[in-house]
């Protein structure tokens, strides 16, 4: 079979697979229907404050497997649903960030910086449109890169990065996030330290649960849901409730945001946003292709670069004060990660983010498809069924993208009305939803207490002007940093200087130091 035959076979596998029902005499395949269902589920989950794609994937995977079983026919429908959820949640995730200032995932945090000020100015629907266009564009670009480059790119990157280099890369990411994001390097470093501390409770390789004070409650650690949702959502809710209370005490009533002025997104807007979307799509794709770094860093980097390049005209809002460019740069970057993230997944079987982990688990549980270098062998004589499935996956991703551009847009525009829901009703509902979703995920009462505790921390951080993002990202990368460093140390035969005696690792370490030195320099002599 030639390359083109493989592509066609993959497309056919999706459209001509087992039939679910027929629409106007045309058979609709199970795989196709599952992509659509998954997408709709994902967008709803993403748009609900407190819920996120990875959680929906974790809950739906066992259900899907028990529905479809382990036959070869099950693979495409199950993966289709998961891909749909992943894409839907990515685009839907911008909704609560923009409308209520409560991001469902760490990725969407930077979206709140400009999205919520736009809502406060009455431009909620426009912000949603910007988010949708940028997200869909970033995602589509990333998928195209995946389809064209997957086979050789991942293998090249993996060969280049050994364990010491991966450790150095994680350290560089942390020092970048700590110093560049919040505007204050000192506060950023403190937040990073706190995030690492939270990540180290109850984890580690020893059988003795670390930093748990001998208590049962702490011995399993805090859990990502309690940390993320506590700091990002509950902290924001606490601040929101206090703001409402003060507003009411001061003026006797509560300001209600509404839609006002021009909500349309015209060609002129798009031309202005295009460079930011394009740049962020590139950044997101590049970060996504690196194994194990993830979308939060991409969103941060996309936003930071856009901020540096942004030159607002007279009367236009600055970045951080409600500039559409900020929403566009963030959403394009975090969405561009999802496609590129599958590069290391498909060609090496190594996940870069949580969503990818569930795709691997699905493939592994059902069988018939083992992500790894064998997938991309274009065998001429015998058919390589895994390659057919890979092209089937690509087809489903493009289908989900199509859904994203069409249904996703209608959906996002229609949600603008939610901003009229009075905040004094909305905030408690979001709090209840968040706590419920955390309890459903981990039915232990301590986790609710942890969430509220991290909520207080998130509230205090906001009150002292400390960005919660370095905290959250340090928590995400903390466990991975420890593991990678430990492995690098073991793999180099217990060499304590493994970060400094290899050229690439050394260069990354020097960069990490330079980022810190540069950002704490006395501002006077810099310019």
């Amino acid at each position: 079979m030639g390359a083109l035959d493989y592509v066609l076979a993959g497309v056919a596998a999706v459209f001509l697979g087992p039939e679910m029902f027929s629409l106007f005499g045309l058979p609709v395949s199970l795989a196709l229907a599952m992509v659509v269902l998954g997408f709709l589920t994902g967008i709803l989950v993403g748009a609900t404050p407190g819920l996120g794609g990875p959680m929906a994937m974790a809950i739906s995977l066992p259900i899907l497997i028990s529905l479809f079983g382990y036959s070869a026919d099950a693979l495409l429908p199950v993966m289709g649903f998961l891909i749909g959820v992943m894409k839907g949640a990515t685009v839907g995730g911008a909704v609560p960030a923009i409308l209520f200032n409560t991001p469902g995932t760490a990725d969407a945090f930077m979206t709140t910086l400009d999205g919520y000020p736009m809502t406060q100015r009455g431009q909620a629907r426009k912000a949603l449109k910007v988010a949708h266009v940028s997200s869909a564009a970033g995602d589509t670009f990333s998928d195209i890169v995946l389809i064209v480059c997957a086979p050789f790119l991942a293998i090249m990157i993996e060969r280049f990065l050994d364990l010491p280099e991966k450790t150095a890369l994680l350290l560089l990411s942390l020092s970048f996030i700590a110093t560049v994001v919040g505007g204050s390097a000192g506060k950023g470093l403190i937040a990073t330290g706190l995030g690492l501390l939270a990540a180290f409770v109850g984890t580690g390789e020893d059988f003795y649960p670390r930093l748990s004070f001998g208590t049962e409650a702490l011995s399993q650690g805090f859990g990502p849901a309690a940390v993320f949702l506590g700091v990002l959502i509950v902290g924001e809710l606490f601040r929101g409730i206090e703001d409402l209370w003060r507003e009411k005490a001061r003026s006797g009533q509560v300001t209600q945001y509404d839609l006002s002025g021009d909500q349309s997104l015209g060609w002129a807007d798009l031309r202005r946003l295009a460079p930011h979307i394009g740049r962020s799509a590139l950044i997101g794709t590049a970060i996504g292709a690196l194994p194990g770094i993830g979308s939060s860093l991409a969103a941060t980097l996309g936003y930071t670069v856009a901020k540096a390049r942004h030159k607002p005209g007279a009367g236009d809002p600055k970045m951080g004060e409600g500039a559409p460019e900020g929403v566009a740069a963030t959403e394009a970057a975090n969405s561009a990660v999802s496609g590129a993230n599958l590069i290391p997944v498909l060609s090496l079987g190594i996940p870069g983010n949580v969503a990818a982990v569930f795709l691997i688990l699905a493939a592994e549980s059902i069988g018939g498809f083992t992500p790894g270098p064998s997938v991309f062998r274009f065998t001429e004589t015998a058919v390589n069924p895994e390659l057919v499935i890979a092209f089937g996956l690509f087809t489903m991703m493009m289908l989900a993208n199509l859904m994203n551009w069409t249904v996703g847009g209608v959906f996002m525009r229609s949600l603008g009305f939610l901003v009229r829901v009075p905040r004094q009703l909305l905030l408690p509902v979001v709090l209840l939803l968040t706590l419920t979703s955390i309890y459903v995920e981990t039915p232990r009462f301590e986790v609710i207490l942890f969430t509220l505790g991290f909520g207080v921390l998130g509230y205090l951080m906001r009150r002292v002007g400390m960005s919660p993002l370095p905290f959250v990202i340090a928590y995400i990368l903390g466990g991975r940093l420890e593991e990678t460093a430990r492995q690098a140390f073991a793999a180099t035969g217990a060499d304590p200087f493994f970060l400094f005696n290899r050229p690439v690792a050394l260069a990354l370490m020097v960069l990490a130091l330079l980022v810190i030195v540069w950002s704490v320099r006395p501002k006077g002599e810099a310019s």
């Binding site: 994937m57 974790a58 995977l61 066992p62 497997i65 028990s66 079983g69 382990y70 993996e158 060969r159 050994d162 364990l163 109850g202 984890t203 390789e205 059988f207 003795y208 649960p209 049962e216 011995s219 399993q220 650690g221 194994p291 090496l348 079987g349 190594i350 982990v357 569930f358 691997i360 688990l361 592994e364 549980s365 069988g367 083992t370 790894g372 270098p373 064998s374 981990t442 039915p443 232990r444 593991e483 430990r486 492995q487 073991a490 793999a491 180099t492 035969g493 217990a494």
Partner: protein, 316 residues
């Protein structure tokens, strides 16, 4: 599985029907809390949930699954030990949890503090490398190591790290032992070139079948089903093994009738052709492997003793 266990398992199968008659009388007084020591969505987690689902469908029992992960199953063990022993709380771990992991942790508990209910499936633990390395069995690895090559050996538990260390020491060489979270991480590490070889407990099956991976040795007390010609670790001077099972446990003091009823019920669904759990176990772990009652107690006692011996040997 060693011969003693095999013979005993066969004997038990003959007498199982008589135990079963009494066991049928017991039904859970309410929903059963099912603790799972594995990350949500993974192969082991899916196995536990499918068994629960099959039991719900066939017997009308109700399960409430809950993840209690970490520390090689010890977090689950510590959480389940003080729960009621009336069959309403059970947990899924690996046999190593009540063996080496518990021995090393010195957490103040022994297998006596638990009731082992039944195993469901075994591991096909092999020592695996990528085919492009050019090694065909473990002797080639030793030759490379003695030739001065720094060899990175991936493992996924303290016990396996000890075994890797002994494999080096008994052959006059030393490996750089890289311990990671689970079998998938070993496979990833080997595929990415971060490790040269590693222990894999069945996850290598597809790769070996397609010729990309090679089983260099069996880490079991028996040859590997997929590569029966691969040498055993005893051929390299290491007389310990990494035999292991997925296993359901409960708190100590569970009445015999309850224990037998749970064991029979779980055995019933995992061994029945066409059940969801049977399909999954056959695909992912090469078929069910059921040890119960005294046979299982005997196996765990032997594991506990072996843990003590292995630890003493490795710390010499």
């Amino acid at each position: 599985m060693n011969n003693f266990v095999k013979a005993a398992a066969a004997a038990m199968a003959l007498t199982a029907s008589t135990i079963g008659a009494a066991a049928q009388d017991w039904t859970p007084p309410g929903p059963i809390k099912l603790m799972i020591a594995f990350a949500a969505g993974g192969g082991a987690d899916t196995q536990a949930r499918l068994i629960a689902e099959d039991l719900e469908a066939e017997l009308g029992w109700n399960f409430i699954p809950e993840q209690v992960t970490g520390k090689g199953g010890l977090n689950l063990a510590m959480a389940i030990k003080d729960e009621p022993a009336d069959g309403t709380v059970i947990g899924m771990v690996v046999a190593e949890t009540l063996g080496y992991n518990m021995y090393v942790a010195e957490a103040g508990v022994t297998p006596e503090d638990f009731t082992a209910i039944t195993t469901t499936a075994g591991f096909q633990m092999g020592i695996v490398a990528r085919a492009e390395k050019g090694w065909t069995d473990f002797a080639d690895v030793l030759a490379a190591a003695k030739g001065g090559e720094a060899i990175r050996f991936g493992t996924m538990s303290d016990k396996l790290s000890d075994l890797a260390y002994l494999l080096g020491r008994e052959n006059g060489t030393e490996f750089n032992i890289v311990q990671v979270r689970g079998g998938r991480d070993v496979l990833n590490g080997v595929n990415a070139g971060d490790m040269d070889l590693g222990f894999m407990a069945g996850i290598q099956t597809a790769g070996v079948a397609s010729g990309e991976l090679v089983n260099l040795a069996s880490a079991l007390s028996t040859p590997l089903e997929q590569t029966p010609d691969a040498p055993m670790m005893s051929a390299f001077g290491v007389d310990y093994n990494a035999d292991g099972y997925f296993m359901f446990i409960g708190p100590a003091g569970m009445p015999d009738a309850v224990r037998a009823a749970l064991a029979r019920a779980i055995e019933g669904v995992v061994t029945r052709d066409g059940s969801k759990s049977n399909g999954m176990i056959t695909k992912a772990f090469g078929g069910p492997a059921v040890l119960q009652g005294e046979v299982l107690d005997g196996f765990l006692a032997a594991e506990w003793a072996a843990a003590e011996a292995l630890l003493a040997e490795a710390s010499q």
